[in-house]
Symmetry: C2
Subunit: 334 residues, 2 copies
DNA sequence: CTGTTAGCGCTTTCAA
DNA sequence: TTGAAAGCGCTAACAG
């Protein structure tokens, strides 16, 4: 909108547009004197280069896209924070796209982004996404880094957390606290994340010779009221003394359900949940949490993307695993 | 990146670039037959128009910028959610910029955005921002809508919440519950938001003839540990029976401080806080909250911006006030 | 060290 | 209904 452009500057200084352009980019083939004059005028006129023109010419957008299920989510908003930080350092701009777990929206976003609007993509795939076929087609067209919700067999860098281990440790923690009947609140079942967490839970049970009934597993992720009813039902019929919640959104209805049934937490039932709600364990010490390093995941993902953009050599289908933090209760066990 | 462009299509179809361009935009001066051919080929080749070229030519970016203090904040992430939603509906893209409360960063972002990178800006100003002079200069250069953290005397649309009323009601609520010594945890003191909240608190005290000591007001927003220490000190020296926290980040250290001093909440001290942590009042019923309609604020702000962009007539310095929700405890009072 | 020229991909007169 | 041509603002060969 600032209507001063290179031509304006060139005209005012009796220089050619090319010289002005070079001076602005601090080219070594321009005299110090000329540079000073150009910079001074540019500054006084609040000149800002037109990005469309520059991008069109250079075939670079200085912009990356972040495609995620939701912004208003503790994990993703922290990840964006990290991403934005790193992008800023590199002088890049950050576009945000929410899929709301809709894989069709996801595909549409990506297709539109293949037009040169961005130089690279950071993505955490929708839970709804069933096939990686589409992704396989477009990986290679544009630098892309998957984070948290990834495809396992795709030719791209992936950043994940140690979900199997975390779920295993969480379950082991409950077992160590004396739990015998441990219910698992499932979520993101389609995704690797969800599968790994489930395996961790199952293996911990198995390795401790704790009996397991498939009724201990409750699939969720519908509406909250329904989840609460379902959980209540499990609490009544299975009478668990421990609960592992694989997603934050299930922990809360679980908490309510316990209250409704006058089950004391953690005396009657111990709850442990994956959650990036920083304050959860503090506001309510009975809710032990496994927290993913969301900020670091965002930073790492962005750093890798910029390495790729800068053509530093990168193992192109490297998988980087960061560690979640298990926050236990301070005082009494669990 | 998709290297098919209008020229490719034109060549393949024995048409001119102009005709293809018109066909793609469904111009009425192109025959149905030609349009079909163009569309078919475009689809089969996954053609996507190059936005830089299109933007350069049309002087429109189909992009808006959101400038906020932090993404990883319950209020702002929900607001972004609303903004992204509306932008999507209009076929617009959303750029995110975090100021981290640094007004210099804020100014830098805006200056760079005046280059045509975006068609409009949605902003919630940094608490650090002292003067609106810079903003006065650039308002008018680019459509801009202020939300939540605004300048009062600036010639632009502003979306805010009823902060005075909310703080007044919150304080009144505590008074109705029998509180006599009500401490106020301050934040965002530079901003209108902070000032209004403080006034609401003060007026409620005054109108109820409740004694007030300036020691009842605690300024915060440094590091959390220090806040906790300060609050602890106030709890000891002022012996309050009620606390109004003007920001979410002060409520938590306040909660800790009470615990450390073995003060029972809400029996000894009742806490009420501004907060967009959806689960706060549920995880811990003793923490009553005033919740801003963050999603709606985002939607409203974006809607107004698009009205401006579409040149619908808009009262250019209209101020829209949305209402916060006071979530009281379900069971016993306060 | 600086200028001339061409062109990135698209849209839009203007002319046919 | 279609085409030719110009130009958005910037950059990069190439020439001097």
């Amino acid at each position: 909108m600032g209507n001063t452009n290179i031509k304006t500057l060139a005209l005012a200084l009796n220089l050619s547009a090319a010289t002005v352009s070079r001076a602005l980019r601090d080219s070594h083939e321009i005299s110090a004197e000329t540079k000073q004059k150009v910079w001074a005028l540019a500054k006084s006129l609040n000149y800002e280069p037109n990005p469309s023109a520059s991008n069109l010419r250079s075939q670079k957008s200085k912009t990356i896209a972040v495609i995620i299920p939701e912004v208003a989510n503790n994990f993703f908003s922290q990840a964006i924070n990290g991403i934005e930080e790193i992008a800023r350092k590199h002088g890049y701009h950050v576009l945000i796209y929410q899929t709301h777990e809709d894989s069709q929206a996801e595909v549409d976003f990506i297709r539109r982004l293949l037009s040169g609007r961005v130089d690279g993509i950071l993505i955490s795939i929708a839970s709804d996404t069933s096939s990686n076929q589409y992704f396989k087609d477009f990986v290679g067209q544009l630098p892309i880094v998957f984070f948290d919700r990834i495809f396992e067999d795709i030719d791209a860098v992936k950043i994940i957390t140690n979900d199997y281990e975390s779920a295993y440790n969480a379950t082991q923690h409950l077992i160590d606290c004396g739990c015998k009947r441990i219910v698992y609140l499932s979520g993101l079942g389609n995704l690797l994340t969800g599968k790994k967490r489930l395996s961790g839970y199952l293996d911990a049970l198995k390795n401790n010779c704790i009996s397991f009934d498939k009724k201990f597993i409750l699939d969720g992720y519908a509406d909250e009221d329904e989840n609460r009813r379902e959980i209540k039902n499990v609490l009544i019929t299975q009478n668990p003394d421990g609960i592992v919640s694989s997603i934050e959104d299930m922990a809360l209805p679980c908490y309510y359900a316990c209250k409704e049934l006058s089950l004391n937490i953690p005396d009657d039932v111990k709850i442990i949940s994956f959650s990036n709600l920083k304050t959860a364990p503090l506001l309510n010490p009975s809710l032990t949490t496994i927290t993913q390093p969301a900020l670091e995941i965002g930073e790492e993902a962005a750093n890798i993307l910029f390495k790729i953009l800068n053509k530093k050599d990168i193992e192109i289908n490297e998988t980087i695993v960061l560690k979640s933090i298990l926050i236990k209760r301070e005082s009494t066990a669990c």
